[in-house]
């Protein structure tokens, strides 16, 4: 299979180059705009460069820094919640066979194949009665809907390859329930928690319409701020906020890259981001 012709190798190199350019291309004008002053048609590059968009974006009155903190807080809380709720469910689906298992799986995966907008409007009505609209808590709770399926999916894959006999051995040797969890179960499932948690964080991080509806415009996360600037035509500030918005994801990616290689079984089964 490896007697490839030079033509095929040249084609691969060319396709690879096109792919690299295409993957980076949409982020380039965002970065340029954030340093541009009055970049008008038909200038290919700005005539004047400036830091004023960054000065504004990082200033107190712009609210970008507050919004960044709020967005990180909401995504961390939604991730923690989906770990707490998703790990036990993943254990049940990965370790046991039981009647109605397919139905449970279908229910838990349903949010990934039913469009978000269809659920969002109804949840908004549910939350009116619960008094959760326009609150940070309500937004965290609603982010559970898109994040939970990934957490359960990853964890059930991990538990399918997990042997609970180690736990009973630890217990029979006198370890308490808590010690058994901490020294036996937790280290074994940690890779899954990291990958599932990463997906949960990124899914929550990119939510727009759920936050807009449930937060009622009072819980202003970064995507809401970004959308407002993008539709008001302030391209320079939009560029700066856009860069601020994608940086945490890139940092997390670099920190967790070794968990995300194609060899990790969890990656093959994950869902949308």
């Amino acid at each position: 299979m490896h007697n490839d012709s030079p033509w095929l190798r040249a084609f691969r190199g060319l396709a690879g180059a096109v792919l690299i350019v295409w993957l980076v291309l949409p982020l380039v004008p965002l970065a340029i705009w954030s340093f541009a002053r009055g970049w008008f048609f038909p200038d290919i590059l700005p005539k004047q460069w400036t830091l004023s968009a960054w000065e504004y974006a990082l200033s107190e009155r712009a609210g970008v820094i507050d919004s960044l903190g709020l967005t990180i807080g909401i995504s961390l809380a939604a991730t923690a919640l989906s770990i707490l709720v998703g790990v036990p469910a993943g254990r049940a689906l990965g370790l046991y066979k039981f009647r109605g298992k397919e139905l449970v799986e279908l229910l838990i995966l349903a949010p990934t194949i039913v469009p978000g907008i269809a659920v969002a409007l109804g949840i908004h009505s549910v939350f009116i009665t619960l008094g959760l609209n326009n609150t940070v808590g309500g937004v965290v709770l609603v982010h559970l809907v898109p994040t939970l399926p990934y957490m359960v999916l990853v964890m059930s894959g991990i538990f399918a390859n997990y042997d609970p006999a180690f736990e009973s051995q630890a217990r029979s040797l006198g370890a308490s329930w808590l010690k058994t969890f901490w020294y036996v179960t937790f280290p074994a499932i940690l890779p899954g928690i990291i990958v599932g948690g990463l997906f949960a964080f990124l899914v929550s991080w990119s939510q727009y319409i759920l936050t807009l509806l449930i937060g009622g415009g009072r819980v202003v996360t970064l995507p809401l701020l970004l959308f407002n600037f993008a539709t008001s035509g302030r391209n320079d500030i939009t560029g700066a906020i856009g860069i601020v918005y994608i940086l945490p994801g890139i940092i997390i990616l670099i920190l967790t890259a070794r968990h995300l290689s194609g060899r990790n079984g969890a990656v093959g089964g994950f869902g949308r981001i």
Binding site: L25, P115, H124, V126, I246, G271
Partner: protein, 285 residues
């Protein structure tokens, strides 16, 4: 503790969350779309909102646009992702870079991609400026409309940008798990490159491709912020239309918005059902 009780307790938090939030959201949406709200004294359900939706021309135009967006994006992304995954299986210069960019792209929210596509492809965007530089156009208006356009080219470009890495990463993980033994056997038995791909590799990676592309279809059919940034005003994509109705100053429009939300869910489920059936039949045969 019996296994049954254990399973029940382990599943209880997740099922509660899904049933209250997800099913509750759909259920209340359905009730309100039928004008059924006992709290404010509406106890006679009716189909008025559905009637209004189904008799408006805008709804059909929006549906056609949204279907076109989802169908085209899903097919294009799937085909290109298969190509990209096949490419990334081989050793060549730049492979590590593409692998990294694929993962990086997964972390970039759709909204950022949409703004990037807007700045690249709008009539005063980067490509229009390049066209002006090379003397192909003299005014922004001469550049073809690729965003806010009736064919939703900008939206589709954005989805292809985001979804090729998404499907590609899943396919690549599948291919690496499979190895190349099956194809080698087929090749040694006389199959050519295409036959080995079509009759050996494709059926093997098909389950992963199917679930990834179903997710892409459902997402692109229900996404709001991307068509809101890049889409035409009329007809708007269905989610944009539903959100507009929902936030209309006229509260009478709310049941209509709910009806649209329910129709979006049903249509999406129906289309995914047929998509799964048709593609299974075609790949397996």
């Amino acid at each position: 503790m019996s296994d049954r009780l254990k399973i029940f307790l382990l599943l209880a938090p997740a099922l509660t969350a899904i049933i209250v939030l997800f099913m509750g959201g759909l259920g209340i949406g359905l009730a309100r779309s039928l004008n059924y709200m006992p709290v404010i004294g509406l106890v006679d359900p009716n189909f008025d909102a559905y009637w209004t939706v189904f008799t408006s021309q805008e709804f059909y135009l929006s549906f056609l646009l949204t279907f076109h967006i989802s169908f085209t994006s899903t097919v294009l992304s799937s085909v290109l992702a298969i190509g990209a995954a096949l490419l990334l299986r081989r050793q060549f210069i730049g492979r590590a870079i593409i692998n990294f960019l694929f993962q990086l792209n997964l972390t970039v929210p759709h909204l950022v991609g949409a703004i990037g596509i807007l700045y690249l492809f709008s009539q005063s965007g980067s490509f229009a400026r390049l066209a002006a530089e090379w003397g192909m156009i003299s005014r922004p208006g001469d550049f073809p409309a690729l965003v806010f356009d009736p064919y939703a080219i900008g939206i589709i470009l954005q989805y292809v940008w985001k979804e090729v890495p998404f499907i590609g990463v899943i396919l690549l993980a599948n291919m690496q798990a499979l190895g190349e033994d099956y194809e080698s056997v087929a090749r040694s038995l006389g199959a050519n490159r295409w036959q080995a791909f079509r009759h050996v590799l494709l059926p093997l990676i098909f389950p992963g491709l199917l679930s990834a592309s179903v997710m892409v279809f459902a997402f692109t059919f229900g996404a709001y912020e991307i068509p809101a940034i890049l889409g035409p005003n009329y007809p708007a994509a269905l989610p944009v239309l539903a959100y507009r109705k929902y936030t209309d100053v006229d509260l009478e429009a709310r049941p209509e918005a709910m009806a649209m939300a329910i129709i979006i869910a049903l249509l999406s489920a129906l289309m995914i059902f047929f998509y799964v059936r048709i593609s299974r039949r075609n790949i397996r045969s």
